[in-house]
């Protein structure tokens, strides 16, 4: 294998060779996505891990080179280095080396970016590579792309959020079970939501690194994480939740930053346990969820919530960054290529295909059926009989006090059934003679839609 990256004799130049550094929880999820549905133009070619023999799995391509020696990665032809090792020393050295050799880097390393982001971005620009780090803040919430692209034209004045899933898990557990801090922490550790040494989370060091990255990306403010005031979660006692409830509040570890409205270069920033109104979006993030709120000068407030950590969400962020680099490279290749391609068929594309679909409105859900009837005996029995004939199970019958028996509203809820079956039953029921207005059926959705 040649020691220099260029020229490449045996490789397909349209494919970006991607090396994965680190094969822990996030690294394995990254490899899983790159194997199951790699972005167009991307191939996983190397997996580096210090204890590679304990880590090797059978489900990645046999073409992938496994190694415990980082030199193997740098000696080979590699276009993108994905760093999910963590830590600042070794990881930082490898990221610098990759960028200095013109490679692009994707990392989920919040401490590295919070402390050295500006230097690394400059290094990437200098050598023509890209550095992306969506996975370093709020795991599965695509907040950095949102800030760069969809909200790039706004001027963000304030960012607030719940950036540490471990602390939020502990606090919501104290809230719901009245648990003491130590018990809630022990539970979080037992369930894998907190590490054996929880210092980084509980003291706010994890959240303040993420807040420092948001200061740079949202507020365009360069802030050393150590300058952000933090207070430990251990301040919070079970009794505080009882008092907070009396005040219409709950307690969350809130990370927030805002430019001072009077002094141009002064930034307020802190990470601390806080009482938040139960009506606040911050109160609604439960368990290990994260949420980020932005206040924009033109666009008002926007909120983003999702899983803050974990292999799946973080690896989506990481591989999405890899895909964005691939799209970028392909556009540049088209623009810089010896012949301009002017017909769409000849151009490589990094966009997944959009498929024609057969569309149906048939969501199988429980339903709410509202009747307005002229009251007389036997109405419920007639409706129940029709439902039974169509094989539909009634869940509940609901009738509120009404003024008049001439136009009496009542409701029947039914268990999940195919809409066509329900429509047939309603058609039968609609022919009965007691209706003052036609029956109305509405789906009942739990959670985020579709029952």
């Amino acid at each position: 294998m040649a020691n220099s990256r260029m020229p490449a004799h045996t490789r397909d130049p349209a494919v970006l060779r991607t090396a994965l550094l680190g094969f822990g929880t996030v690294g394995q999820s990254v490899a899983r996505i790159l194997t199951e549905q790699p972005p167009p133009g991307v191939r996983l070619t190397h997996i580096f891990n210090r204890r590679i023999d304990e880590k090797r799995v059978g489900w990645v391509s046999p073409d992938v080179r496994w190694t415990a020696d980082i030199e193997d990665v740098f000696a080979d032809e590699v276009d993108i280095v994905v760093e999910v090792v963590g830590g600042v020393a070794d990881a930082g050295q490898w990221v610098r080396r990759a960028l200095s050799s013109g490679r692009s880097v994707v990392t989920a390393n919040k401490q590295l970016i919070a402390h050295h982001g500006a230097e690394l971005i400059a290094l990437a620009e200098q050598h023509g590579g890209e550095l992306r780090f969506e996975g370093s803040v709020a795991g599965g919430i695509p907040i950095l792309s949102a800030l760069r692209d969809g909200l790039g034209a706004d001027r963000i004045s304030r960012v607030a959020g719940i950036l540490n899933g471990t602390c939020n898990f502990i606090l919501t557990s104290m809230e719901s079970r009245g648990a003491a801090f130590a018990d809630a922490l022990a539970d979080a550790q037992a369930l894998g939501f907190a590490e054996a040494d929880p210092t980084d989370d509980v003291e706010g060091f994890d959240a303040r690194a993420k807040l420092a990255i948001l200061c740079a990306t949202a507020l365009r403010a360069q802030v050393a994480p150590e300058r952000i005031a933090t207070r430990p979660l251990t301040l919070v006692d079970a009794v505080d939740f009882a008092h907070a409830r009396q005040l219409g509040c709950t307690i969350r570890q809130v990370s927030q930053a805002a430019w001072d409205t009077g002094t141009p270069d002064v930034l307020h920033a802190s990470v601390r346990p806080s009482l938040v109104s139960r009506q606040s979006p911050l109160a609604r993030a439960g368990g290990s969820q994260n949420i980020v709120l932005l206040q924009g000068q033109y666009g008002g407030e926007t909120a983003f919530s999702g899983s803050g950590a974990g292999g799946g969400p973080t690896s989506v962020a990481v591989v999405s960054d890899v895909a964005a680099i691939a799209r970028q490279r392909q556009r540049v290749a088209v623009a810089a290529g010896p012949a301009r391609c002017d017909d769409v068929g000849a151009r490589p594309t990094a966009t997944a295909a959009v498929l024609p679909a057969r569309v149906t409105g048939e969501f199988v859900t429980p339903h709410y059926l509202r009747f307005i009837v002229k009251d007389r005996p036997g109405i419920i029995a007639a409706i129940a009989g029709a439902m039974e004939r169509h094989g539909i199970n009634i869940d509940a019958v609901l009738q509120l006090p009404a003024d008049s028996k001439d136009a009496l509203p009542f409701v029947v809820t039914v268990e999940a059934c195919p809409p066509a079956v329900l429509a047939a039953a309603i058609a039968d029921i609609g022919e009965l003679d007691f209706h003052v207005r036609p029956p109305v059926d509405l789906p009942i959705l739990s959670g985020g839609g579709q029952s």
Copy 2:
């Protein structure tokens, strides 16, 4: 002025000349941002409106060319066409013409994209321009960039949301005031949240166009908007809210789509008033807010909420798209330029500067102070006296039933004051002899953070 776009003799090739078609609410907000803080490398050069003489304003640059003749735009050197005219016929013709001549287009036109998006994207690719349409769905929520970039590597199986702010305004108004549909609609019209002819909103035609765009971008499913089943909002009666409340629910116009889990090319999609659990994120979108929920195979559920319409939020989306095109063009220019620039100083950059900031943790908020004391007479008086000496106003004193007078918890809340003042008062109070544990102070945050 030469009639052909290239070669350009008098213009700065690093600046993208941008024409704005339409000067209504959104168009004026777009012009405002492009005037007050234009993205690097972008200049507003043309404003087209049919009744230009009624529209002309003094706050845009005198260099901007105002015209009521669309031919003026196409005859001039224009790199980016921003279409915020609305409608499908004329706007569609102008967008096609711009793309066919290699220009890039930014539009907020949901009907145009829902009906002709695939064709227009192909046209853009064919002629080397870009087509972006973040403003066409959910106004200020950067959902399309999130889907393309931050979540691009996930496979989205389901999308659900509240995509029409007018319907949501009407429903939350019926919910909170017990209003009848017609009264809530009249109020929405009086307040400018609904148009004189509300058909598109109330029948679900607006929401289904946005859902069709989300089907293409999130689910990679090509769906004609007319194929999406809709039900009108007029089905919903005030009495339904009373029943829904009994069921732990409220009512929302829910747009949702999901691939069938059994049949590969079947997509479920509908827009209809629905009962949603009060615990659901869908229930929490109030007034004219929008929310979009995505279910990803790897990343789990993410939620995005914000203003769904209005000049400010939509124009942020539009100008962010313009900025993204400018960044893209500059990268391509660097890559394709005759000489490669290898030092960062020589490269143009479309990224706003990150400024060093002086950091302080001082958010001025109300505070919660929790004491655990050995009870004796005069404690409240001593605390109140110290607060008064420091000029801090007490808001409330809160004491829950306690088991023991030897370690009695109670809480004092104080009005907003500078943290340094509060710290001094707490230091004084901390020296008093009744404390069993040191006092704890937590900020009280309302809304999205910072009080």
